[in-house]
């Protein structure tokens, strides 16, 4: 399927700083899924957003789905070293396309 574009590709932050990654699609999405892959690990499902304007929280992670269902964001408050990894958004469907993702590095 058509890929969802994600920015930034890389982000280095100091521990305690906030972090945001954005996904944008030129077409309306029926839903969007977020995954995380730690270095040397496997992709792990984080969340799925379905409704226009939806906001979901998981502890320090806040996920948003745009009103037009063409964009989404993941915001991490007060990053920790355990947040290190690559975050992917995907439109789901019969396969995951794993675009560039955003690689997050957290420095002490």
């Amino acid at each position: 399927g058509q890929q969802v574009m994600q920015i930034p590709q890389y982000q280095h932050v100091q521990e305690g700083e906030d972090f945001t990654t954005y996904c944008n699609s030129s077409t309306t999405l029926s839903n969007i899924q977020w995954y995380k892959q730690r270095p040397g690990g496997h992709p792990v499902f984080l969340i799925q957003l379905v409704k226009s304007g939806e906001v979901k929280k998981q502890k320090r992670l806040t996920f948003q789905f745009g009103e037009a269902k063409k964009n989404s964001s993941l915001h991490i408050t007060a990053t920790q070293t355990t947040d290190v990894g690559t975050y992917f958004c995907d439109r789901g469907g019969n396969k995951l396309t794993f675009g560039t993702g955003t690689q997050l590095k957290v420095e002490l």
Binding site: S30, N31, Q33, Q37, G41, H42, P43, V44, F45, Q48, G92, G93, N94, K95, L96, T97, F98, G99, T100, G101
Partner: protein
């Protein structure tokens, strides 16, 4: 919590040999997938499987590859004659439905020498 399991965790094989990678998906899931990740690169889709047949496959999934669900629990990926470039981490995943989230196994690292 149910999880996808994969065996072996690491497989070393010689070029030209056949390998079978095994996966046990989550028990009530209906969709099964194989992905691979070459070291330092992004995860790539190989194949999806539903209702005992391939529902979609990528260009990577050529005639050297096949998948099978030999019984009610296992899902296998066979590479008939391995090449050096098949060296990668192979992830199995499963999901409840076509647009549902996918749950990944820990992967099998395949090294072809």
């Amino acid at each position: 919590e149910p999880e996808v399991t994969q065996t072996p965790s690491h497989q070393v094989t010689q070029m030209g040999q056949e390998v079978i990678l095994r996966c046990v998906p989550i028990s009530n899931h209906l969709y099964f997938y194989w992905y691979r990740q070459i070291l330092g690169q992004k995860v790539e889709f190989l194949v999806s499987f539903y209702n005992n047949e391939i529902s979609e496959k990528s260009e990577i999934f050529d005639d050297q590859f096949s998948v099978e669900r030999p019984d009610g629990s296992n899902f296998t990926l066979k590479i008939r004659s391995t090449k050096l470039e098949d060296s990668a981490m192979y992830f199995c995943a499963s999901g409840r439905g076509r647009s549902y989230e996918q749950y990944f196994g820990p992967g099998t690292r395949l090294t072809v020498t």
